[in-house]
Symmetry: C2
Subunit: 350 residues, 2 copies
């Protein structure tokens, strides 16, 4: 079946920051080339033309008609002040890449580079959508039985208002419905107790407002403990708490698998034989906790499709992010968020 | 070697809420009796005398000269408003138990009952220590290689000021040094980045103040990811974030072990043989994540030794909490916190 873009011969354009991340440009371009096995889009690689060409030479058989290069002589590093770097480095892959996708909703920008610069670029170059006070970084986190939940915000906004959380809930719901195909996603407010009266000042007030929203399926408070058993599809919180949950689960997951390895290695001969026999299954389980298979973190609420992938991303993260970018474009995420949130503004004004 | 209490024949008194928690009174009293294998204290069981006597009858050989019963006809449940219940149920095990240990620093109260009521009891019956604005609930969480870190606050104070965090840091440092014997414990501020300028309004300001404190070994910001690798001994945060980290790690830990079991169970015959061979090692690893072995959560900053154990506590949690209570008494935690924090008040006044 042809997708809408193909039916109307609209060219979907995936723009990839070839210079961002610890493994750039090699792994990024490797992933970009691997993703060409998927159809329906052209690709722009942004970065140092010489370096990109050197990398591309490693893949003599790729379909060069689908790939173009946008030269950018500068790179913004993690150590730089994002806003300052954005102003100063006009010829960076971040600035040129985001400028290319700004307002063009048939395109998407993917970067493993500085998170701060990507967010600042989204905000100042692409711009906020009407009705959005604070664009938000969301991320899908693995849960039991192969499931996952969308955590929003996961670090873009560390100090939040009630209105911010309400907007995160709406954006998270739209994204989950469109990109993961979940009908009427269950939206929970991350809180330190399930009861309505529980929480800090912010969550108590946000609970009241979320309850009034008819456009989402708000299921009340969710304790972080139950996030991993799949109690909700979307978990709403401020970026400080979201970042704590994300980092805590990454850290604990790594620690458990490392201890598991150590425990099995130090056992007797029978344990070692047993460990060899279960090895494959353990790897399957470990890959379940590979967040990157769920794609990168979409930056929602700006006038562009922007996906931030992990700084340590390898080619497979790029591949999955390209898949995710296609779904975001195909499902018109930006338009849907814009329509829904503009309605809110109009209702408030009437 | 005799401990100080024994040398001077001071009777240490461990007061246990026999009615609190999902498995009370059976598991609570079982744990209390098991803990009598340790020397150096007498025990008071608070609760329904008839029920307690029935349970005690199951252990015909216990040293009854060390155990007395304080009858309490009421129990405060989790569903009640803590402060209201505390006022109304004067004959509850919580009210009578805390009243018994108030100001008597050779005693400690242990409860698996309502957290809210235990905290409110600590606050309103035992009372705050001078120099403490908000008493705080701390908890030790397992980290890599058999280590652990003390998370403070883990839910008693969901909205915090900079002063609160500074006091948590001091109390956490004293507790870790005295109870775990860690020399000059590394105190970190939980934050969404390691750099000094990172964080939300609260953590940015708290960083400045913590840096000035000479009485603790402040090592800067710590990202939740590195808590589990043992980067710090004490992790300071507001109770909302602390509770999120605690619940998140409990939930993720449970989920990983359950998935591991499922993965090994659904494998082929070789995986099943392997699973049998590594089973014992996996249980060892799982028990490493048994938070209860680290004792319960001490409520620091009140004029009494109070330990809250999990609502689902079994006998072993009670045993470990009794051990922890002895260490708290022996090491004069309450006096040390009082002395240190009073100094702060005096310095501020001069």
């Amino acid at each position: 079946m042809l997708c809408i873009r193909e039916r109307y011969s609209i060219t979907v354009k995936i723009v990839i920051d070839a210079m961002g991340g610890d493994n750039a440009p090699h792994e990024i371009i490797k992933g970009a080339i691997e993703s060409l096995s998927m159809k329906g889009f052209d690709m722009v690689l942004v970065g140092d033309e010489g370096l990109i060409k050197e990398e591309l030479a490693l893949y003599p058989d790729y379909d060069s008609s689908r790939v173009s290069i946008l030269h950018a002589s500068e790179v913004i590093s993690n150590d730089e002040s994002p806003v300052f770097a954005l102003r100063r480095k006009k010829d960076s892959s971040t600035v040129k890449g985001i400028s290319l996708v700004k307002g063009d909703l048939d395109s998407a920008f993917i970067s493993a580079g500085s998170t701060g610069a990507t967010l600042a670029g989204g905000l100042f170059i692409a711009g906020r959508l009407p009705g959005i006070d604070r664009p938000s970084l969301a991320v899908a986190i693995p849960a039991a039985k192969g499931g996952h939940f969308l955590l929003i915000d996961n670090g873009a906004n560390v100090d939040c208002s009630v209105e911010n959380l309400v907007q995160f809930a709406q954006m998270g719901s739209i994204y989950t419905e469109c990109v993961f195909g979940t009908q009427s996603p269950k939206v929970g407010l991350v809180n330190n107790g399930a009861e309505a009266h529980k929480g800090c000042k912010l969550t108590k007030e946000a609970y009241e407002e979320l309850q009034k929203l008819e456009s989402i399926n708000f299921t009340g408070n969710v304790e972080p403990r139950y996030l991993f058993s799949g109690q909700v599809d979307v978990a709403v919180c401020d970026g400080f708490v979201g970042n704590s949950i994300l980092k805590c689960s990454e850290g604990l997951g790594m620690m458990i698998f490392s201890e598991l390895k150590g425990t099995l290695r130090t056992g007797g001969i029978l344990t070692k034989i047993g460990a060899l026999l279960v090895k494959k299954k353990l790897y399957t389980l470990k890959s379940m906790f590979n967040y990157e298979e769920y794609g990168g973190a979409p930056f929602l609420g700006v006038n562009a499709n922007i996906i931030k992938i992990h700084g340590s991303s390898k080619s497979s993260s790029v591949y999955h992010a390209v898949k995710q970018a296609q779904r975001m474009i195909e499902n018109r995420i930006v338009e849907k968020i814009s329509d829904k949130l503009t309605q809110n503004v109009q209702q408030t004004n009437n």
